[in-house]
C-alpha cells in the first residue's frame, strides 16, 4: 500500500476523486462493483447524501484490489443487497445496501451478515463490525477511516494471518455437581458447629454451599490451567469465561496463526480423552471477532 497513491485516488476531501483513472476502484469498471454510486454521491435511497448502508467490516486496501472487489461483487448481503466498498487511507470499508434507516435484527439476517464477513476473512485480514451499524453517508465512512485509521491498521496488523477458535466445555450439571460433591466428601472436614438448633442447620447448609462453590471454582481453575498448558505451544492469545451457565463450564476463545486448527484440535482431543464426563465443543476458524481491540465513541 502506498499512502500517496491512495490520496491521489481518494482526493483531499476524500469524496471527489473516485473516478480518478489511477484509482484502484476505477480500474474495475462500473459493473463489477457499485462503488461509483457511492463515489459519485448518488443517493442510494432517500435524501441526497443518504447511504443507509450497513458497515460489515474493515480491511486493508490491497495493493491489487481487483481480486477482492471482484470477489465481493459475487457476494450478496442482507436483503440480497450488492456489496460495495469505500477505500481511504489504505483501508477499505465493506458495506451493503439496506435502503432503510433501520435494520431488522433477526437470525437470518445475522447469519447472512456473518457469511459475508466469513467469506472476506477466508482470504483477507478483516475487522468485523457489529451487526446493525448503519452509515448515513460516504463522508461518514471516510471520516471513520480517517479518524480511526491508525487503530484500524494496528488491529489489522496484529490480526494478520490469525484466526479465532472457540472452545466450549459442557457437562451434565447433575453429574458434574455430583462429581464435585464426591470430591468434597473425600476431603471432608469436621464441622465446627455443635448442637441441634435451627441456626446450626442453617450454618451447616451455608457452609456446604460455600465449600461446594469453592470446590467447583477450583475444579474449573484446574481445567483452565490444564488447557493453557496444553495449548501453550501454540502461543495463543486466549480469553476464558468460567461457569457461563449450569451446562457450560468454560467458554474460551483462542487466537491462532492460520493453519494450526488441526494441531490445536488434536490437543483438545487429548483433553477430551482425559475428561470423559466433559463435552468439548470446538468451533472455528472464525474471523477474530473477540480479539479486535477498539473503543470507538
Amino acid at each position: 500500500m502506498k499512502d500517496e497513491h491512495e490520496q491521489n485516488a481518494i482526493g483531499k476531501d476524500g469524496t471527489r476523486d473516485w473516478n480518478n483513472k489511477d484509482s484502484p476502484s476505477s480500474q474495475l469498471g462500473q459493473q463489477e462493483l457499485n462503488i461509483r454510486d457511492l463515489a459519485s454521491g448518488v443517493p442510494v435511497s432517500g435524501s441526497q447524501n443518504s447511504l443507509s448502508r450497513m458497515l460489515y467490516a474493515i480491511t486493508v486496501l490491497p495493493d491489487q484490489p481487483k481480486p477482492l472487489l471482484s470477489f465481493l461483487s459475487t457476494v450478496r448481503g442482507v436483503d440480497n443487497s450488492k456489496l460495495s466498498v469505500i477505500s481511504h487511507n489504505g483501508l477499505m470499508a465493506i458495506l451493503g445496501g439496506t435502503g432503510k434507516d433501520k435494520v431488522v435484527a433477526n437470525t437470518e439476517n445475522a447469519l447472512i451478515y456473518a457469511t459475508v464477513i466469513e467469506a472476506v476473512f477466508r482470504n483477507f485480514t478483516v475487522l468485523p463490525v457489529r451487526y446493525g451499524t448503519l452509515m448515513d453517508s460516504e463522508k461518514a465512512v471516510i471520516a471513520l477511516l480517517e479518524k480511526y485509521g491508525k487503530a484500524f491498521k494496528q488491529n489489522l496488523s496484529r490480526l494478520e494471518n490469525k484466526e479465532e477458535l472457540s472452545l466450549k466445555v459442557l457437562w451434565d450439571p447433575q453429574k458434574g455437581n455430583d462429581k464435585i460433591r464426591q470430591q468434597l466428601q473425600a476431603y471432608r472436614v469436621d464441622t465446627p458447629f455443635t448442637g441441634n438448633s435451627v441456626s446450626k442447620e442453617y450454618l451447616l447448609q451455608k457452609l456446604k454451599e460455600h465449600q461446594f462453590d469453592n470446590a467447583l471454582q477450583s475444579y474449573v481453575e484446574r481445567l483452565v490451567d490444564e488447557i493453557c498448558k496444553l495449548v501453550a505451544r501454540f502461543n495463543t492469545l486466549h480469553q476464558f469465561k468460567k461457569m457461563v451457565s449450569k451446562t457450560i463450564v468454560l467458554d474460551a476463545v483462542f487466537l491462532l496463526e492460520k493453519g494450526q486448527k488441526k494441531a490445536f484440535t488434536q490437543a483438545i482431543e487429548q483433553l477430551r480423552n482425559k475428561h470423559e464426563s466433559l463435552h468439548f465443543f470446538l468451533t472455528g476458524p472464525w474471523p477474530p471477532y473477540n480479539f479486535v481491540e477498539l473503543n470507538i465513541k
Binding site: 437470518e108 463490525v129 451499524t133
Partner: protein, 76 residues
C-alpha cells in the same frame, strides 16, 4: 444426557454465530451511526441448527426455508 448435550451443542453453534455478529467486533457509537439494532430480541426464536459455515452458505443460497419471525426495531 448425551442427546441433550448434542442438542445443546447445536444450539451453542448458532448462538456462537449470533453472539459474534451481534455482540463482538468493532462497535461504533456516536454521530457516525444512524442506528444500531437492538440485539437482545434476536435471541427470540433461535431454533436453526448449524454445524458449520458451509451450512450457513447453503442456507443463504436457497435451502434456507424457515424464516424467523422478523423483529424490527420499528416494532419496539
Amino acid at each position: 444426557m448425551e442427546n441433550n448435550v448434542i442438542e445443546q451443542s447445536k444450539d451453542v453453534t448458532i448462538l456462537e454465530i449470533l453472539d459474534r455478529v451481534l455482540n463482538k467486533g468493532i462497535v461504533l457509537t456516536g454521530d457516525l451511526v444512524v442506528s444500531v439494532a437492538d440485539i437482545d430480541l434476536v435471541y427470540v426464536g433461535v431454533k436453526v441448527l448449524l454445524s458449520s459455515v458451509e451450512t450457513m452458505e447453503q442456507m443463504k443460497y436457497g435451502t434456507y426455508k424457515k424464516r424467523e419471525q422478523e423483529i424490527s426495531s420499528d416494532e419496539r
